[in-house]
Structure formats: C-alpha cells, structure tokens
C-alpha cells in the first residue's frame, strides 16, 4: 500500500482520521436532529444562512384560555442557545424543565425551534419550524 506512510509513521494518520470521523458525525447530527451546520466541527461555517443568528427558540404555554409566549430568562440564555444549535428533543425538554423549575405554576409547555430561510429571488425571509416538543 504505497499511499500509506511507512510503519513507524502511521500514527500520523490518527489526527486526519479523527477529523474525518468528527466531520461525518457532524453531518450525521445535521441530518438526524438539525445540528447547526456552523457548529460541531464539520467545517460548515460560512456555508449556509442556517446559523444561530437566524435561528430562534420559542416557548409557548398552553392554557385553557389560549396560548402565550413564555420569555426565557437571562440565566437560561446558555441553555437556550444550546437548544438553538442542537435542537434535539432531549434538549427542548431540558429547557422546558429548567423553566418549570423556576416557575412551577406554568401550564403545559411547547418548545419550538425555528430558522429563517431566504427567497433566492428577492431575499424575503420566511420562518421554518425545525423542531418541536409538546405537552412538556
């Protein structure tokens, strides 16, 4: 196998192999649970408008009187950003649980993650829901 380095130097292939695994895992995360293309070590930065700045998290309380948006306090800002970048259902549930721990009186919660898409003709943005967890 002429393309391989000689025996004593094959460990030089370990870091590139790790890069390969990491990048493939990141693509898998994107496909499976909409991991942000800009995050996770897959080199998707500057490759799409789908990044944290154009994603948003909404928490909605569902009551008998209707629905109302629940503001996420500053102390949970890091968790909210985490949900935005990695919108797995477990993370959405974690955010709802953290909110409930602060405000036990909250009714049933729905957590949603949205991203903006831009029309290629006139750049008009629209919102697309990419993750939701209900009855939390």
């Amino acid at each position: 196998m002429a393309w391989l380095p000689p025996h004593g130097r094959r460990r030089a292939l370990v870091p590139p192999c790790l890069l390969l695994l990491l990048a493939l895992a990141q693509i898998g995360g994107f496909a499976a649970f909409d991991l942000s293309p800009w995050k996770g070590g897959g080199f998707g930065m500057f490759a799409t408008t789908d990044h944290g700045g154009f994603r948003s998290v909404r928490v909605i309380e569902q009551t008998a009187a209707g629905e109302r948006r629940v503001p996420v306090p500053d102390e949970l800002e890091r968790l909210q950003r985490h949900v935005r970048e990695v919108p797995r259902e477990a993370n959405l549930r974690r955010l709802a649980a953290a909110l409930r721990a602060r405000e036990p009186g909250l009714g049933a919660l729905r957590v949603e993650v949205w991203r903006a898409e831009f029309d290629p003709d006139d750049l008009a943005p629209s919102r697309v829901r990419i993750a939701v967890a209900e009855r939390l």
Partner: protein
C-alpha cells in the same frame, strides 16, 4: 519543524480560548515551550497541550468553532509525530491531510449539502446582514449604508417577531454580482486546496493556493484563529527545500493579524468619500 512548532505555540498563545480558566493554563504552558525550546521537542509536553486545547471542546459544547477542533487535532498531530523516528515527515503527513480534509468538508458543505450557498443566496444575505462584510459591500458591491441599515432593521424586526417583512427589497445590482463572484471564487479556491492537498499530482499548487486563500479571505472574514492555524499547518507540511515558501506562510500569518488590527477598509472608505 522547529519553526513550525514555535509558530504553533505563538498561535496558541495569541488565539487562546475566551474563558480565563481555559486560557491562562494554556498560555502559561505555551510560554514555557517558547522559553525552553527543549520542552517543545518533547511529545509529553504536546500531549499535555492537547489536553489543554481539547477539554474546552467538551466544556463549551456545542459552541466551539470549527478551528477549535482543528487546533486540538494539530497539537495531537505534533504529539504523535514526536513519538516517531521521523517526526518531520510524520507531521508533514498529518498537516497535509488535516488541511486537505478541512477544505474537503468545507467544500462538501458549501457545494453539496447546503441548500442556499451555490446559488449565491448565502453571500447575498451575508453581505447585507453581517457587519463584518459591510465594508466589502460598500467598497466593491456599491451598496449604500442606508441600504444596509434598512435591510438590517427589517431583518431584526422579522427575526424578533417585532414586525413582518416590509415587502420587495431592492437589492443593489453590484451587490448581487459581488455575491456571485465571491461564491465562484470561494468554490474554486477551497475545492482547489482540497484537491491539491489530497491528490499528490496537484502537489505543486498546494502552497500557493493556501497562501492565496490566507491573503485574500481573511482580509474580510475576520476569523483570525482559523487563518493562523491554516498558515501554521501550511508551514508544517513544507518540504525541507521550500525555504521561501515557509517564510511566505509566516508573512501571511502576520498579514492576517494586520488585517484584524489595521482598519484598512474603513480608511479606504473614508479616502474614497464613501462613509
């Protein structure tokens, strides 16, 4: 290899993590390696550095940037190379494949996986909405500050839910052309670097493509740490007889630092009366 290791230590020192408890230990260890070069030739020292560079990736998950991962893989590559009988060749192999892999996946994302890059939408939106690209939009794209402010205000209102999209936005023609040119240039240079570093037949192009990338892209994309790391990896993979190329990598590294510190686009905008 000595030069590459010293430059890498300098890069780690200058582009250390944000949190003090991640930054300070790393900077102290890097400083020690610069003061005592014998330390920097020890694989155990680089293994320790790999731990210091690597653990923030877990602590900060998922917020680390791509080059933070590449930085950890680079220090690991040095640590492993120093355990071999031919460290220079081993590091050369790792560095080439790391650069090639980085650009392969960057190209894959842009050209294949992303739904809005190849048609130019990404750069059209970014030139209008990302303040890091506003000087370029004004200087080359012919955009006015009023246009940028209007788009930014409308987009902020839309994203925060404060208002709807105001209707048809008139995109300056020059900006559209600039976005398409940037898309074409980026696709060509990034795929070219991936090919040149991964396919030995194109080896003679690899250094100049990577240096050209560093000298052009980081004039506007102010991701200093990524630029530093790419130039260091380029330096590390140079052959023994490529002395001038090594200096070109170091010079480009300092150019990237100058781009960040000298407000050259703003000075140019003022000189041209575009402010």
């Amino acid at each position: 290899m000595e030069l590459a290791l010293r430059v890498l230590l300098l890069v780690l020192l200058l582009d250390a993590p944000l949190f003090w408890f991640q930054r300070v230990p790393l900077q102290i260890v890097c400083g020690l390696g610069l003061l005592w070069p014998a330390l920097a030739r020890d694989a155990r020292y680089w293994a320790g550095l790999t731990v210091l560079v690597g653990w923030p990736l877990f602590w900060n998950w998922p917020f680390s940037d791509n080059h933070d991962y590449l930085r950890a893989l680079t220090t690991l590559a040095v640590a492993l190379a120093l355990t071999t009988s031919a460290p220079e060749q081993a590091l050369r192999t790792s560095a080439r494949l790391l650069v090639g892999g980085t650009f392969f996946f960057a190209t894959l994302w842009k050209v294949v996986l992303s739904p809005d890059w190849i048609d130019g939408t990404f750069f059209r939106v970014t030139l209008l909405s990302d303040p890091r690209f506003h000087d370029l939009a004004v200087l080359v794209g012919g955009a006015s500050w009023e246009t940028l402010d209007a788009f930014d205000a409308a987009l902020t209102d839309f994203l925060t839910g404060a208002g709807g999209w105001p209707g048809a936005f008139v995109e300056p023609a020059g900006l559209y052309s600039l976005a398409l040119a940037l898309t074409a240039f980026t696709a060509l240079i990034e795929s070219g670097i991936a090919l040149a570093f991964l396919w030995p037949r194109l080896a003679r192009w690899r250094n100049w493509l990577l240096i050209a990338f560093g000298a052009t892209t980081f004039a506007f994309a102010t991701v200093r740490g990524f630029g530093f790391l790419l130039m260091t990896l380029g330096l590390a993979q140079c052959e023994d007889d490529e002395r001038r190329t090594r200096y070109a990598y170091v010079a480009t590294l300092f150019l990237i630092e100058a781009y960040r510190n000298v407000p050259w686009t703003r000075l140019l905008i003022d000189a041209l009366g575009l402010s």
